[in-house]
């Protein structure tokens, strides 16, 4: 059935329309955009006073299924995604079993189809069982539907294996997405290494654990002429290395998370385990560098690294808590606060970081842009809506967010995915 969005103020990466238009959607595609459209029998959504953005695309989500359905499922994660305005999410392979075979990819795609809320793209493992020893059957993973591979949660430590993985993934047409961490340097660190970790007596994870892998992979990618994507970069030095590599023409892309451009290590002082994340929260200078990298284009995408953990898993000593925090439902409002209100990006530039650019990085040609012929994936947002982050309002199964209690501005009111209304804010209706 057709869907008609009335009075849409469209914001694409290319810019914001001056006038409102109507958007007609049919068969999952945008079929017409014009000042005034009428269609008999179409479901009508009035976007008056709101902005209509291409649905957000998150390259980094942990759905926990299969294996840890107590933390999140494909269903609960999908609901969390559409509430945050995301219409495509890439789920990381550190599940049990790991997403390292075509069967597991197929399982996830089947579940996601049954849920039917959001486009789920499983990211395959680079190595079997993410053990860092043998590469996976990447051709098979690609045929099953993967667009990228990663051993996320672990960096690929073996340089020789990284070389082979990049070569093989290129043949398979898969993007290698690196979790940048040298375990010998991070050495089970709990927080950023520095004066504060010394003061708090928590084991430090120095930023060089991230940058040595980035520097190494830039060299390998440059030598091979392949692409490589760096996930959740957290340090100023990482931004510098990537900026230089790009200037030299090395085909690197990267992403940064809302928590890494919003929070500094100072929040760890509370010993609140929702502040424990890998890579760790770093210093003000690092936060500023991430913002500068987003502004000048060094950082391509905003990705959440949505990492749900149960209350029981997190309600332990800082040392024993698993790293990670949920991010799908707060990403857009945090980006508005830190980046748009903060003067780092314009709204269209934010759309680029959250929609157009992730689509480009992953080769999703029909996504990330509102235009005739494109997939009908939309987020309708009320930029003025003020709301508070609460456990009750959070639809993810897990509530591990350091932003609990924060007052934020800007909320997704409606999400359309594949031409289907998949989310309507209860408060708006």
């Amino acid at each position: 059935m057709a869907l008609l969005i009335k009075n849409a103020r469209i914001v694409n990466a290319a810019g914001e329309d001056k006038e409102t238009k109507d958007i007609l959607i049919d068969g999952g595609k945008i079929v017409q955009i014009a000042p005034q459209i009428d269609r008999e029998g179409a479901t009508v959504v009035d976007a008056k006073g709101k902005k209509v953005l291409p649905g957000f695309i998150d390259l980094h989500v942990h759905l926990r299924e299969p294996g840890r359905e107590d933390k999140e499922t494909i269903e609960s994660g999908s609901r969390s995604a559409v509430k945050g305005g995301f219409t495509s999410i890439f789920c990381m392979p550190n599940t049990t079993p790991a997403i390292d075979t075509a069967q597991t990819v197929q399982y996830i795609l089947d579940q996601a189809r049954k849920v039917g809320l959001v486009n789920v793209y499983p990211v395959g493992a680079i190595t079997k069982n993410r053990a860092g020893v043998e590469i996976t059957e990447m051709m098979d993973l690609k045929r099953a539907g993967c667009l990228g591979v990663s051993d996320d949660g672990r960096g690929l430590m073996n340089s020789g294996l990284m070389r082979r993985a990049l070569e093989y993934a290129k043949m398979a047409g898969l993007l290698v997405m690196q979790h940048c961490e040298d375990d010998n340097l991070s050495a089970k660190g709990m927080m950023n290494e520095g004066a504060l970790s010394t003061l708090l007596g928590l084991k430090g994870d120095p930023f060089i654990a991230e940058t040595v892998i980035i520097a190494r992979d830039i060299e390998i990618a440059r030598y091979l002429g392949t692409r490589v994507h760096f996930m959740h970069i957290s340090s100023a030095r990482s931004v510098d290395l990537i900026r230089r590599a790009r200037a030299e023409g090395v085909k690197v892309t990267c992403e940064a998370t809302p928590h890494h451009f919003t929070l500094t290590e100072e929040v760890v002082k509370s010993f609140d385990t929702s502040t424990k994340v890998n890579p760790p929260l770093r210093t003000r200078a690092d936060v500023d560098a991430i913002k500068a990298g987003l502004k000048d284009g060094t950082i391509d995408c905003i990705a959440t690294d949505h990492a749900p953990h149960t209350h029981e898993d997190k309600e332990v000593e800082y040392d024993g808590a698993p790293p990670g925090l949920i991010g799908l439902e707060t990403a857009f409002a945090l980006a508005l606060k830190e980046l748009v209100a903060g003067g780092v990006l314009t709204l269209p530039q934010l759309v680029d970081k959250m929609s157009a650019s992730p689509a480009r990085v992953m080769g999703l040609e029909n996504k990330g842009d509102i235009a005739v012929g494109k997939d009908a994936d939309l987020a309708i947002v009320d930029l003025g809506c003020e709301w508070k982050v609460t456990k009750e309002d959070t639809v993810s199964k897990s509530k591990n967010s350091p932003f609990m209690g924060w007052a934020l501005k800007g909320r997704v009111t409606t999400t359309v995915c594949g031409g289907k209304l998949v989310y309507t804010d209860a408060r708006a209706s």
Binding site: A195, L200, G201
Partner: protein, 308 residues
């Protein structure tokens, strides 16, 4: 003299000089109690103090236990699992169970930095940190400060040199925080791998030069060197540590003639400190132990005794 206003004793980072002075003053009056024939005052009669130790410790636990008993409090010791993940019961759960038995104060020792904070946030009991991870050991620092003050009258301008594994030492961190507030000049010295990043920002001088560190020192404190540091690649060998950093009689000569020798115990004789030095005339190691009881009596008294 200020009034005591705190419910917990977590570390000396957030304790003022006035607070420290008050504890020392209170400890001075309690020290006398331990030298009486009847070593008991009724100050905490009817109060219950629990020792929740999730890490092996004999002397700190015994010292707290004696302190509580000499104040007439009832005490109980709970051996908690080193990690909640192992036992299946969380630290907070254990603490809530203790609270349900109407315990007034918990003395907690835990291997994870920040663990006492969980108890302070999650229960309504008073919490005393008896050592958490590498973060803090406030009563040890207080008894060290007390001992130095007893000998020198003040810490103002006193040069305190702490030698050893600073990186993993909660004793060093609490002493740095407390002693600087009391006006001391603190120097930390050890192998470069065991001097933590950014330690200077705590207001200390950090050096790997043992001669420079000891020169003119009024207090020389050696820290316990654990053998595991060799496996973790912090040290090539314990033997090399001994050659470079052990407080020997010869090295001690570089310090002031009347310099105090201290150690938080238990000592590894012949590793971080030579036996002749630990037992020598400048050593106040056993006085530290004695003073520990007075300090812990003062802390328990201030946290509990003035409520009613």
């Amino acid at each position: 003299m200020s009034k005591w206003k705190h419910k917990h004793l977590m570390d000396l980072q957030d304790t003022t000089r006035d607070d420290i002075e008050l504890i020392l003053e209170t400890a001075r009056s309690f020290k006398e109690v331990s030298s009486r024939e009847i070593k008991k005052v009724p100050a905490l009669r009817g109060k219950t103090v629990a020792m929740l130790f999730a890490e092996p410790s004999t002397r700190t636990r015994v010292s707290f236990e004696l302190a509580a008993k000499r104040l007439s409090a009832d005490t109980l010791a709970i051996q908690a699992a080193a990690s909640s993940l192992v036992k299946g019961e969380t630290l907070l759960d254990t603490a809530l169970n203790i609270e349900a038995m109407n315990v007034d104060l918990v003395v907690v020792r835990h291997g994870a930095s920040g663990a006492p904070q969980i108890l302070a946030n999650g229960t309504s009991m008073s919490i005393v940190n008896a050592g958490d991870g590498c973060r803090a050991h406030p009563t040890q620092a207080l008894l060290d400060i007390f001992t130095i003050k007893e000998k020198f009258g003040s810490l103002e301008g006193v040069k305190v040199t702490i030698v050893g594994d600073i990186l993993h030492s909660r004793v060093a961190r609490s002493n740095i925080a407390g002693m600087i507030k009391m006006g001391a000049h603190v120097v930390v010295c050890g192998p470069s791998t065991l001097l933590p990043v950014g330690i200077e920002e705590m207001g200390v001088e950090a050096t790997t030069d043992i001669n420079k560190a000891l020169k003119g020192a009024d207090v020389v404190m050696a820290l316990r060197m654990q053998k595991e540091r060799q496996q973790d690649a912090f040290l090539p060998s314990i033997a090399e540590y001994v050659r470079e950093f052990c407080i020997t009689p010869e090295r001690l000569k570089m310090a002031n003639a009347r310099a105090l020798v201290m150690h938080p115990g238990p000592t590894n004789r012949g590793i971080e400190i030579a036996a002749e030095v630990a037992d020598g005339p400048q050593s106040v190691i056993l006085e530290q132990v004695t003073n520990g009881i007075a300090i812990r009596m003062a802390v328990l008294y201030l946290l509990l005794g003035r409520k009613t």
